[in-house]
Symmetry: C2
Subunit: 84 residues, 2 copies
């Protein structure tokens, strides 16, 4: 693929336009953007007083939390696989 | 633990104070906040023109991307474990 194998999408997250660039297929990039948009709306609905910048930080916190929990589960599976 | 088994930390992410609440130990909550703070600084250093709100959204995008890649690897391990 051209452009150093990068894909690029223009997408709207929480009402603002972003260009997302990555080496993954555009479907993956779109899915990432949709998850962030939907999490921001979900967290925003529970915290109506938050400005969008703080809301985005809490969305990043939320995703990082999910990532760490999944990483723990991943390592458990790895250990089980080594012992099987 | 009191308070419906919730833990709470007050932490600084990208120069702003946040209260993070969760059922995990405070060490986990601190680690989450540190990862988000460090990712925001990393992405901010590469995109100096971004305001902090857009930077936080891109940090959430970044973490969601990492989450989806890890989820794919997790499902591969699960499939291998089922077949082993």
């Amino acid at each position: 693929m051209a452009n150093n194998e990068k894909n690029r999408i223009i997408t709207t997250i929480y009402g603002q336009e972003y260009t997302i660039v990555g080496s993954e297929p555009t479907d993956h990039l779109k899915k990432v953007a949709q998850i962030v948009d939907s999490k921001m709306h979900e967290i925003g609905a529970q915290n109506r007083a938050l400005d969008s910048g703080r809301l985005a930080v809490l969305t990043a916190v939320n995703m990082t939390h999910d990532y760490l929990l999944l990483l723990e589960k991943y390592r458990e599976l790895e250990a089980r696989l080594e012992n099987s």
